[in-house]
Amino acid sequence: MNAPGERTTGTTSWLYRRILHPIKLAADAAVRAWQSSLQLRVAATTLVITGVAVVVIGVFIVDQVAGGVLQAKRNAAIGQARLGQESARTSLSETDTSVPGDVEAARTKITADLTANGQSAGLFTTAIESESSTSANEITPSVAIPDGLRRLVQQSNLAVQYAPVRDGDRTVPGLIVGEPVSARTGVLDLYYLFPLTAEEQTIALVQRTVAVSGLALVLLVVGIALLVTRQVVRPVRVVSQTAGRLAAGDLSQRIRVHGVDDIARLGRSFNDMAGSLQRQIRRLEDLSRLQRRFTSDVSHELRTPLTTIRMASELLHAHRDEFPPALARSVELLNAELDRFESLLGDLLEISRYDAGVARLEPETADLRGVVQATVEASRLLAERQGSELVVNLPDEPVPVDMDSRRVERILRNLVGNALDHGEGKPVQITVRADADAVAVTVRDHGVGLLPGEAGLVFNRFWRGDPSRSRLTGGTGLGLAISLEDARLHDGWLQAWGERGKGAQFRLTLPRVAGHTLLASPLPLVPDEDARGANAFEFEEEDA
């Protein structure tokens, strides 16, 4: 039972692979072409409508012509039969219907007589049947008189019917007219057989003519439709391509406009729009370039005097023991604030570099664990001051990553500094995890956390979560903004999660190979529920 089933399956899949699938592909391609080309749609619609109209009209014309021709033939045939009836009666009245030879002679005579004074009914042959004689068919064995016609004629009617007749050696469509004729020994049925060869040829000619001219008409109309839509579609395509290039950033793109028609007006309006856009964008670009240059220049120009001040301050600071207390404290404040001023200036310059688009990635393959360890070492002092423990969770295997170590270390330093700053003395966890495509570092604190909606704001420049909180590390307010730019430069992600009272977690995800697009991160952004529960419990114990 299985074998036929399997064969059926095999046949089905073969059928699918060889026939249905290609058909499906072709259908898909056709649907796509249909949906994407206005020209195709217009041409196809025109083709269908014109085609239907031409077929209907053609059928009507052929029908009318054929009907007219056949009607004329029929009328002529009946006239011929009427005319012939008299002479036939004369000829047949002398004929003994029981003698085939006589009948045949009479038939020949009738045909000759009729043909002699023949009219417009055209060529014909005749057949004679005796109603009483069963051998009537033998008289003209080649002609089959339809039974219906024969019955009508035997009821003494003049009857007409279309039926095949012989013309030479061929059987052709024909018209048979039958009439009863009284003969000496009874009634004979005289049939006139008109082959319709000529009429058929006429009708075929008309059919051919109608078909050819109909086809030509359809092609002509479709051609016109194609031409007209092309005239409309081509400018539309030009406009669409130009708009695409404009959107891609080439603001100098314009359309060449000829004439004053609707299409030309479209082109002109489009060009006006593009020109206006270009002017606006140029103005904004100039403005923003000036602004960025200004930020960069100011930062640079400030550096030289700041260096002098810095050195003077350091010199004073080194000798502060020799000063009276108020002066000594002033020198300390001067020195500390200079540090802040300097880092602010550095951050401003860095962000202006990003704004100006001149920041460049210099990726080198390095072990991410090394960078994390260096960051942790550098943050050790700050962690001690805050009373927070730094818990580092690194993979055992090296984690080589294509990265600009300087920038990655800066990101991590910012994240760790931020976590210590807001960690309220609780441990800060740093976790590194890697998969085949990406690496992730999370920095988790258990401090005040973030309010809903704040996770998106933390990367804003000069944003402060809680203005009333004291600034412990004296951050510049640009650290996370720069970190975000650093991460973006690596095609990486920098994201934040936080909940009020539960702390916050920042996650940095980088592609392992420079330039690859990130799809997923090896670590979750929102900390694992269980781990959080356990940690929370630990802290309660510690607090108690």
Binding site: R303, P305, T307, T308, R310, M311, L345, E362, E364, D367
Partner: protein
């Protein structure tokens, strides 16, 4: 004897302040404010080390740097207001040994200067050989001389220190960070571009084909090591 320092900087306040700091720290500074007079001042004062601002009137710091390098291996430390990659790399490639970014702390500057001035009082005869067997590079450490195929190779003190550091442990791979610490004297992580640029400069002098190094080899993802002796 106090080390002589030539300060090439057009900002008079900064130059004066630098003078105060340098004298306090036991240097003997001399000053020049114009780039076009820097070379003359260099030849006259014969300094042990040069502090060079990159933005100068007359002649750019980069050109001054090249001019000095063409004549001598005297350590040059750039003072730059720009930490942009292009400027720093351009300065290093034109021959500067190290750079400090304004605003720098005086201690930092002095530490950098001392690192460049530190003399290896190495009286013990030490001969090192590295590179391919058919064309080895020989280093006479106390004499500060390097030769390859019998011809002497002129290296700046920094390039010499870099080569010696690698040659002393021929099988060891040095990370850039370790080299920064051993050769430049950085205690904390610093700009690894310093190492990259100077390895290139060193290669251009000791390698037969700097594109296919045999003496100073790159270990991808880690750092550098000396070629097998």
């Amino acid at each position: 004897m106090k080390p002589r320092v030539l300060v090439v900087d057009d900002d008079s306040a900064l130059a004066e302040m630098l003078g105060i700091v340098l004298r306090t720290d036991g240097f003997e500074p001399s000053f020049v404010a114009d780039g076009s007079r820097a070379m003359q001042a260099f030849r006259e004062s014969k300094p042990d080390i040069v502090l060079l601002d990159l933005m100068l009137p007359g002649m750019s710091g980069i050109d001054v740097c090249r001019g000095i390098r063409a004549e001598s291996g005297t350590p040059i430390i750039m003072l730059t207001a720009k930490s942009d990659t292009v400027d720093v790399v351009l300065g290093l490639e034109s021959g500067a040994d190290d750079y400090v970014v304004k605003p720098f702390k005086p201690k930092e500057l002095v530490a950098r200067m001392r690192a460049r001035l530190r003399h290896h009082e190495n009286l013990v005869s030490e001969q090192l050989t590295i590179g391919p067997a058919d064309s080895p590079v020989t280093i006479d450490v106390p004499a500060h001389q390097v030769s390859r195929d019998g011809r002497p190779v002129a290296l700046t003190p920094l390039e010499f220190d870099l080569l010696v550091a690698l040659a002393r442990k021929p099988r060891q791979v040095f990370t850039r960070e370790v080299l920064l610490e051993q050769v430049w004297g950085y205690r904390h992580a610093a700009d690894t571009r310093l190492v990259n640029v100077h390895v290139q400069r060193l290669r251009s002098k000791v390698e037969r084909d700097p594109e296919k190094p045999e003496v100073v080899l790159t270990v991808r993802g880690v750092g550098y090591k000396a070629g097998p002796p």
